[in-house]
Symmetry: C2
Subunit: 132 residues, 2 copies
């Protein structure tokens, strides 16, 4: 019985750890329409969030006139945020998921890969930060 | 003339560095109303963003029924995001500002201090990440 209890505690601790992926994409070679058009970027984000099985609770995208886009999808599991600078071929991406009720780390990583495939950055600064 | 040109380049590089403060607040001892009420948390965030001189371009807050709040203020300078878990006396805060047209790092740090003063966390995990 003691062993089972310890295993349960271990599992709860694992679930508590979330992940925040900070991805800075330089020299992007794709996704140029999404870089400059808030509606296109919003569609892409919503579609991929649903595809990996994360739960959207809200969205907000802002178009800088004649320039980039800034936007966020609020999730039951935390958030996805993206800011584009088309004049620099540069964008920053945040994918932050908590693991309170289930492990969402793999979903976050799959979502990151979708952004990577779309924008095809020539150089990336990626940091994966452990977080609740 | 050559010296002046070099100084200009240096200044542009400095401005390019933004900051992303990731603050995880444990064992909070204040701000209990803001932890559970999306309208109160939204008001606090909007007021303090304006007070430090950052530029709000949108906001979105979501109330988890009978539980915490998840919300974001989109800024011309990037974003502020907050997620609360009142049942754990825990919240996570993101303050991310770019420094494209002016240095906003001090504003970000002052904003962080406002959240710290409100929530009075017993323990903090803070990470300041350099970012464009």
């Amino acid at each position: 019985m003691e062993t089972m209890r310890l295993e349960l505690i271990q599992t709860e601790q694992d679930l508590g750890k979330g992940i925040h992926i900070l991805g800075d994409f330089y020299d992007v070679k794709g996704g140029f329409n999404e870089m400059i058009d808030s509606l296109k970027l919003e569609s892409f984000c919503e579609e991929k969030v649903a595809e990996v099985g994360l739960t959207q609770v809200g969205k907000l995208f802002y178009q800088f006139p004649g320039s980039g886009v800034t936007g966020v999808i609020l999730l039951a599991e935390s958030h996805v945020a993206i800011h584009t600078w088309p004049e620099k071929n540069y964008l920053t991406l945040d994918i932050y998921v908590c693991n309170v009720s289930q492990t969402n780390t793999e979903k976050a990583k799959r979502l990151y890969d979708y952004f990577y495939e779309l924008f095809q950055p020539g150089r990336v600064n990626r940091q994966d930060v452990d977080r609740e």
